[in-house]
Symmetry: C5
Subunit: 321 residues, 5 copies
Amino acid sequence: MIVDCAAYVDGRRREGELSLERAGAAAKEPGAFVWVGVVEPSEAEFEAIGAVFGLHELAIEDAVRAHQRPKVEEYGETVHVVLKTARYVDPEEVIEVGEVSVFLAPGFIVTVRHGEADLAPVRQRLEQRRDLLAKGPGAVLYAIADHVVDRYMEAAHGFDEDVREVELQVFGEAQNPTQRIYKLEREVLEFQAASAPLEEALEELCRIETEVMPEGLHEYFRDVEDHLRRVTTRIENFRQLLDSALEANLTQVSMRQNEDMRKISAWVAIAVVPTMIGGIYGMNFEHMPELQWRYGYPTVLGVILTICLLLYWRFKRAGWL
Amino acid sequence: MIVDCAAYVDGRRREGELSLERAGAAAKEPGAFVWVGVVEPSEAEFEAIGAVFGLHELAIEDAVRAHQRPKVEEYGETVHVVLKTARYVDPEEVIEVGEVSVFLAPGFIVTVRHGEADLAPVRQRLEQRRDLLAKGPGAVLYAIADHVVDRYMEAAHGFDEDVREVELQVFGEAQNPTQRIYKLEREVLEFQAASAPLEEALEELCRIETEVMPEGLHEYFRDVEDHLRRVTTRIENFRQLLDSALEANLTQVSMRQNEDMRKISAWVAIAVVPTMIGGIYGMNFEHMPELQWRYGYPTVLGVILTICLLLYWRFKRAGWL
Amino acid sequence: MIVDCAAYVDGRRREGELSLERAGAAAKEPGAFVWVGVVEPSEAEFEAIGAVFGLHELAIEDAVRAHQRPKVEEYGETVHVVLKTARYVDPEEVIEVGEVSVFLAPGFIVTVRHGEADLAPVRQRLEQRRDLLAKGPGAVLYAIADHVVDRYMEAAHGFDEDVREVELQVFGEAQNPTQRIYKLEREVLEFQAASAPLEEALEELCRIETEVMPEGLHEYFRDVEDHLRRVTTRIENFRQLLDSALEANLTQVSMRQNEDMRKISAWVAIAVVPTMIGGIYGMNFEHMPELQWRYGYPTVLGVILTICLLLYWRFKRAGWL
Amino acid sequence: MIVDCAAYVDGRRREGELSLERAGAAAKEPGAFVWVGVVEPSEAEFEAIGAVFGLHELAIEDAVRAHQRPKVEEYGETVHVVLKTARYVDPEEVIEVGEVSVFLAPGFIVTVRHGEADLAPVRQRLEQRRDLLAKGPGAVLYAIADHVVDRYMEAAHGFDEDVREVELQVFGEAQNPTQRIYKLEREVLEFQAASAPLEEALEELCRIETEVMPEGLHEYFRDVEDHLRRVTTRIENFRQLLDSALEANLTQVSMRQNEDMRKISAWVAIAVVPTMIGGIYGMNFEHMPELQWRYGYPTVLGVILTICLLLYWRFKRAGWL
Amino acid sequence: MIVDCAAYVDGRRREGELSLERAGAAAKEPGAFVWVGVVEPSEAEFEAIGAVFGLHELAIEDAVRAHQRPKVEEYGETVHVVLKTARYVDPEEVIEVGEVSVFLAPGFIVTVRHGEADLAPVRQRLEQRRDLLAKGPGAVLYAIADHVVDRYMEAAHGFDEDVREVELQVFGEAQNPTQRIYKLEREVLEFQAASAPLEEALEELCRIETEVMPEGLHEYFRDVEDHLRRVTTRIENFRQLLDSALEANLTQVSMRQNEDMRKISAWVAIAVVPTMIGGIYGMNFEHMPELQWRYGYPTVLGVILTICLLLYWRFKRAGWL
């Protein structure tokens, strides 16, 4: 579905929406370019668009099917860029990955998005920056990449909070966040698979020399690449932290459970004392002088109590109770 | 065993099967090429084929023996490509690895397959795409590589499901999937050994400049390479996940067993109370005033019951029972 | 906020503070350069400075917002360098990260600092080394980088001490430094994220050939890079050590707790002996000859004592008590 | 000790053994080359050989002392190649490492072997392949490298079997193969240290352009390199598997032991019931109506039995007994 | 402190010690070179030496302060090489790291050593090899590097022995070498930090083309580099082994302790039997026919003994006692 299709001249949007045919014509006017925004197109739909702008068969297929890796590919004059968007859905602690395919040539830019990834705000913001828009389709690509990486930052921020929560659980009372740590690790890996290859793609974008990347744009892409590297370092650190958290968690869980066991055992050890003494004086020997003593019973009770209290005090001091 | 041998002119299959000798002749016609499909050939059989097309002694040996790594090698004008196929056999959770050796030169392509790897559907599908076939033997190689990588995708998908099953087991009740995790790790390593070197091989294919790789084909191979990298990233992630699962599993198993122990110990601790009190009043002292009391016995029973219930209630609250 | 703004001619500070406008003029005098020191500038403030010295829009944005990675970027004649400062706050065992952005061109150097990172001592020390100052803005950058890396060394030293403390805890008595190890690991990762990319940046500085880096300065930057590599090796080693400490700690914690359990169990096992014997002679059989024996009771007591002492002695010898 | 010394012309062995002096002369005949096979030479012995063929002092030292890494070094026209041989001694599960030093120049090849590594079969096999031998000393080097890597394959195969055995032990009954896993890991590391650097050496051999490596030989070395890479991948996988086996083993060992403990504890818990009830009815209260009941005793016995059976049944169902 | 200062002509030492001034003069004679050996110089002392030979300010600072990384740096014609020496002090199991700074130019070589690292034997040995000494200061550097790497070998050998000892402890009886393993790991990391960067430095030495490295010397440095790589591989393997030992140790420690617990529990379980039966026959029911039986008591004793022996036998068979 084409959601927006407009021509831009000198950084200004020409009034009104274009039909696809007129877009094809406008793409050939010197000094102008067309921006076609498409959302989850059917194969037929996108083949029509591909025919208008002369896109490569394989690129069309990739754009329709999604599930690509972030990459940059040149087909003659046209450059095909794939970016993965990422959103961190917090209550579920899940990374939602979308995809944006961009085709750009000197006269046009076609953006195809799949899944979560709204490009409307990018277009709005860009239309207010005439200086940037005047640099042509490359500037649009920059704005999209910048937007995507900014979203990564937000996602990484969401992660960060959950990782910190998990840490509190690991070192908190009586909890076992093993499953949560594991699930976060899974999401981190997915996030990494979506974001890390973009680094290479951006580097390649800075390297290739085409008409769509005029002089002053390389600085902009380098800036995005730089932001991306900050995110990927953070993601890598999440993985390291979750790995360590998994191991620290094992120590904590087993320690807490052992503490419980030790506590129970200590109480049982205390209770064993009266049982033992009771057992001795419960024997039926005929000649047990203590049994006839007047204060035998209270004395024994006193002894039992003393030993038990002593044990209690020692266990308490050792931190076992 | 030669399973299919045909000549192709302008992307169209020339009628009828060729004998090996006529295939050798057809390979020299300009604008035509011969595709010989061989399955697990004996040494003698393949030496005959090698003689017809002038294949290198070492390459012949490799093709007959199989057990090669994925690779690309140039012997003069002939390029020798080895691909490993992979199929995930689900109930057994085993990766079955096959091998396809491909020899291609401007006039011919010889495909040798070992183990599981049916190339017949590739040939059928390709014969319907005349435009591609017209690009010569390189296009056939592309079709095969594309098919192989698509099969990897399916295998990775099968893996994915089993990894998720294992995760449920790890965090589910009373199970110990250690062995299953370990076995999956073994299979992942085998899968990785089969698929990862292909990346390098495909890169080399895109780099080498020979007549069999005409202009427009590089894009196709780059596309396959791209799909492959998605698979290898996923496989790498499987390994990471299984590593973490192994560790999480240790925590879960030891935690569940400790829970059992704590439960048993807690019950024993409760039972120790009546034993202890029974021991005390079982002593045979002559002067134990309580023993003569009218309601001594029910009082003691009541005390025992109270303490036991209290303990039960506290253990329950602590989550130990 | 501009904290210091002065012109330097032949390595000597020209008297008095400059206004921003006059600084712009002084930057264009041959043989002189201007050093503007800015602290956490507002956007408006820094745009004014940027306008005077012709800084790039993106670089200005980066300098105001901070949160960049260490990097070197060339915008035409101007070089933009970002450095992260690090300070180890000991009682809290936390790495405090600040940022210094430096813009330098043949006629000026602008230093922007965020967070903890005092550059005043750098300026003071440098103003006493006229030979170095005479080499221009590049020498100032060197002095800053040298200062930053020296601070890293101090931070690494602080870390080192805490890592050693943690080791003593791991192998000491009755402690569980899991959380401390984990927290240190987190800080090490942050430290690494701040310092490691600087290596690449310094390498690039040694590579680029601009007027601001005159002949004799490369040696100085190589020296800083060298010091940096020593720090990064140490940081990497901290990570390795903390990883191992986490694992050693698991062994120690579980061993100490098991020792407690063994001790309690051994005592219970000793107490079980009299209970058992008491139980036997507490049976009410009519015909138990031992019960009538004159010395039955003391004999049994003796037997109990002997067995218990024997057990005690064996447990002691086995190191269980 | 010189074990064999012969001249080869046109791929054919010239009759009779040569003395060292005549070998030196033969090495200078055009179209011929000399192959000197030496086994663990003394320093004096090998210096004599070195003098005849003009070998470099350092290379001589290396060849005599052995304990080198696999490597390729050029000393002027002479190439010095060091290969490590490996044999897996199965009952001891030990990798036995030997060394072969090869010096080759257009007119001669000197092979020095240390430890286990019989080159006689290589010579025999090669003397039957006149076409290969005709390519000169490089072909001999190829035959040796091929032989060495084939031996690696066998060693890897032996390893594979033991790794599989260990896996059965890990997941089998009541065994603790920790030490065996650890020892295998040690051997894998030694195997890796011996074989992995050869990869780099072979690559260098394919790269260097000397007279001893005529046109058609590169394919042969590439083939060996390819086989080697298969082995090194497998060795790397062994390490991964043994790492995982060590961890899985920890889970299994601790699980089995915990199972034992749980079983014992469950039985103790069952035995605690009659003890507790016996304790209660063993109390000496004067007023315990149950004691006078006619069927008090059998009733209590019945109750005890019922509770014990119930517990038994529940524990059985929970898999604890 | 200058410990030795001599001039060498044609590989022969000129008689007598030189003063520093005359050394400066001798350094300028063609065909001669001066070797100044310095030990832990004060700043003033070394600045004097630096002034004579024209050393760079930064290099002087580095040489005085020590604590550098191994590196090679060119300051104009002078090359500055830093090497770290290592000695394994066995009873303490500690790596002692020293430093040797070498400055060499066509006419002189200055060696500065810090900490443990005696260069006197190097000088003695070298003065007996006139051929090598005749190659100038580069040969002296080679001799030092060779000596340093030989010492690494010895250190690695010492490590090896302790690692093997630790392994025996891990799999031996009743020991917990966690702390020792951890400490060895710390030392290995320090050893690695000292030795690994030298590899890169030596590679650079082989690459740079200066007058001090005449034609025939590269082979010598390549030889040293090769020895170094053997050491670094071994060190890396130590780390791997210690990692695995740490994990194996956890298994062994927890297994041994669990065995103790199981043993105690098994004995308690045996003791519970007479207690339980004693409890039953200790009940005070009026109607307990067994109590009146003539042989009731011995029968019960017999039953108790039988059950206990049965349990003992089963536990023994299961390996629990």
